[in-house]
């Protein structure tokens, strides 16, 4: 026999193999703990530290300029509305374009050269650093004053966020529609539906939950972005009061955190923690919500 004959089947803990296996198992467990630790620590600090500064005044007041008053820095109200408004602007642009692009990829050109190129392009676009989106919008909108002479504006901020949302939405729409079984398409064509009717009445509704999961994730990512805003929307301490204000500087939670975290004043730092609390709670909720929707109606092969 060419193998070391081991007549015993009992577990031998001093065997190199068994020591190695045990060690590797313990190491992988340790690595998992290390990987989970940052999340727990970040969430604990943001919730406890940030949460302790949350009160009705922080939520609605406008922030004070740093250094004016060492005891209070006002609130984060305008930043909350600003983040909301710019995310809405970004959604208005990117959802129709993204869903439309996804429809083209999945329904009209499944494997054509152009579709391949667009799929590749949206992967590349997803990999473009977010600060580049900010630089790009600065160059074509802010510095050219193309928006009725205004420079930094909430609209410019929203547009640069939409660039970040676009690839995610195209991709999830494409993938969600591809999961819709072809039988449903044939059935629709079989009763004489046009392609437009087939898409709007059959495949889009069937893929709706998966698409909304992707849209929510894209939205959550955009709402937390800072880099594309710091030289497009800049920052403002004031609430917007009219439609015209969309064309002026606009504050956001993320830029507020960035600006105030680096201030030497305690009061401003506290505001940054409070803003982090709001941002993290909203984004984690959006994420969990999208996961929940995903499990609810994920369009799978078993469910037809």
């Amino acid at each position: 026999m060419n193998y070391t004959s081991q007549k015993h089947l009992t577990y031998n803990p001093s065997l190199t193999r068994n020591i190695g296996n045990k060690a590797l198992t313990i190491i992988s467990a340790l690595f998992s703990i290390i990987s989970v630790l940052p999340l727990i620590l970040v969430i604990i600090y943001v919730l406890i530290k940030g949460g302790s500064y949350i009160n009705i005044e922080t939520l609605i007041l406008e922030p004070e300029p740093p250094g004016d008053d060492l005891l209070t820095a006002g609130g984060i109200g305008p930043a909350i509305t600003g983040t909301f408004i710019m995310t809405v602007i970004a959604s208005i642009i990117s959802i129709p374009v993204g869903v439309g692009g996804g429809i083209y990829l999945a329904e009209y050109s499944k494997s054509g050269r152009f579709a391949k190129f667009i799929r590749f392009g949206s992967n590349v676009l997803a990999g473009v650093p977010s600060i580049i989106a900010g630089v790009f919008i600065y160059a074509i909108i802010v510095s050219t004053k193309i928006l009725f002479g205004s420079m930094f504006s909430g609209i410019a901020g929203g547009i640069s966020l939409s660039i970040l949302m676009l690839p995610t939405i195209i991709k999830t729409t494409d993938e969600a529609l591809k999961l819709v079984p072809n039988d449903m398409r044939r059935a629709a064509f079989g009763i004489g539906a046009s392609k437009f009717t087939m898409i709007t009445n059959i495949t889009l509704p069937a893929a709706f939950t998966s698409i909304s999961t992707g849209v929510l994730l894209a939205l959550a990512r955009a709402a937390g972005e800072t880099a594309p805003l710091i030289f497009t929307a800049l920052f403002s301490r004031y609430y917007i009061t009219s439609f015209d204000d969309l064309f002026y500087e606009m504050g956001s939670l993320s830029v507020l955190i960035y600006n105030f975290a680096l201030e030497p004043y305690e009061a401003q730092n506290q505001l940054a923690w409070a803003a982090s609390f709001i941002l993290v709670v909203v984004l984690l909720s959006l994420n969990i919500l999208s996961r929940w929707i995903g499990t609810l109606g994920a369009f799978s092969k078993h469910k037809v």
Binding site: R17, N18, N21, T25, S28, A29, F31, S32, S35, V36, P38, L39, L41, V42, Y45, V97, G98, G100, G101, I103, Y104, L105, Y108, I118, G121, N123, V124, L125, G127, V128, P129, S130, I131, I132, V135, F136, Y138, A139, L166, P167, I170, S194, K195, F196, I199, A220, G224, T226, A227, I230, F231, S254, Y258, A261, L262, A272, W273, S276, V280, L283
Partner: protein
């Protein structure tokens, strides 16, 4: 009489408007899909156009000079390029074993399934935390916590150039660590997905001839999942190179080149975040040149990632 007109169905033959809607809809979605290409090309074109002045003035010298002087109009991005590459690669070196190890741990049946799901979910939720919040956490919590450890390293190994300056707060090392936190979810979740896709019959085959758990993992499971894992690692590299806010807040933003990982440094993206708002004239052009370099770097990494996933995909069906 025409058959269609006698029918109960008024649309037996398609009306012109219905055909128009069909054609129009197709053209609209084609246009929307093209937007991806338009945006991508415009970004390249605009960043390139804006940087032409610097490109023609400095050429490749820009890549190897550490000068950054708005007064004398001398610009070079060496420190930032080095910082970008060093921080991202160093963070990758730390994050790969952690991420792949975690992915293995939660795809093996070592602990009960619901616990594994919880770990997987937590790591993925980590990706949902905005960069700027991680930056805030790094500045106020993480950096003060790790500074004593870094100081010990400095005191013992200070003679090595990499540890030759005293850690005084912001610097490259805390930036690397926060990058690890940011790219861990990418590596973990993509590795997890690739490991899960390995057909269970391969695992059975290995167990069936008496391979132990980790022999099976290293010799059968990981080789079969390597394309996905590599793709995830490269995506993480691209993300680390382009990451801006957390790094800007903790790296110290200094254009003085130093070998020490405890010294303040720069990355291209943190340089952009820091200076772009106040820059004018040829400084803008130089920043655009730096932005172009960053774009090309991330583009190369991303294209390589897509290529390698295709290339390495094993046919084991």
């Amino acid at each position: 009489m025409d058959k269609a007109s006698t029918s109960k169905f008024s649309l037996r033959t398609r009306t012109t408007s219905e055909k128009l809607i069909d054609v129009g809809f197709k053209n609209i979605v084609v246009a929307m899909a093209s937007m991806v290409a338009v945006v991508l090309f415009s970004i390249f074109a605009v960043v390139y156009y804006e940087s032409t002045e610097s490109i023609s003035r400095y050429g490749l010298r820009f890549l190897f000079s550490s000068a950054w002087n708005p007064v004398t109009d001398e610009y070079g991005a060496f420190t930032a390029i080095y910082g970008t590459l060093f921080t991202s690669i160093a963070s990758l070196v730390i994050a790969i074993p952690l991420g792949v190890g975690t992915a293995i741990f939660i795809t093996e049946n070592i602990i009960p399934k619901y616990l594994r799901n919880v770990i997987g979910l937590m790591v993925e939720l980590l990706a949902a935390i905005p960069s700027v919040v991680l930056g805030l956490w790094a500045v106020f919590i993480m950096e003060p916590f790790i500074r004593p450890f870094l100081n010990t390293i400095y005191e013992i190994f200070g003679f090595i150039p990499f540890f030759s300056t005293q850690p005084l707060g912001a610097g490259m090392m805390p930036a690397i660590l926060i990058l690890v936190v940011m790219i861990l979810p990418i590596i973990t979740s993509i590795s997890k997905d690739s490991l899960k896709q390995v057909p269970s019959k391969l695992r059975q085959a290995a167990y069936g001839i008496g391979a132990s758990r980790w022999t099976t993992i290293f010799q059968v499971i990981i080789p079969a999942a390597i394309s996905g894992i590599t793709g995830g690692v490269l995506l993480a590299l691209g993300r680390a190179m382009g990451e801006t806010m957390a790094v800007t807040m903790i790296i110290g933003n200094s254009n003085n080149f130093s070998w020490s990982i405890f010294a303040p440094s720069y990355t291209i993206s943190s340089m952009l975040a820091n200076q772009f708002g106040e820059a004018d004239g040829s400084q803008v052009s130089s920043l655009m040149y730096a932005a172009l370099i960053l774009m090309v770097l991330t583009l190369l990494v991303n294209v390589f990632a897509q290529w390698i996933v295709k290339k390495l995909s094993l046919k084991y069906q």
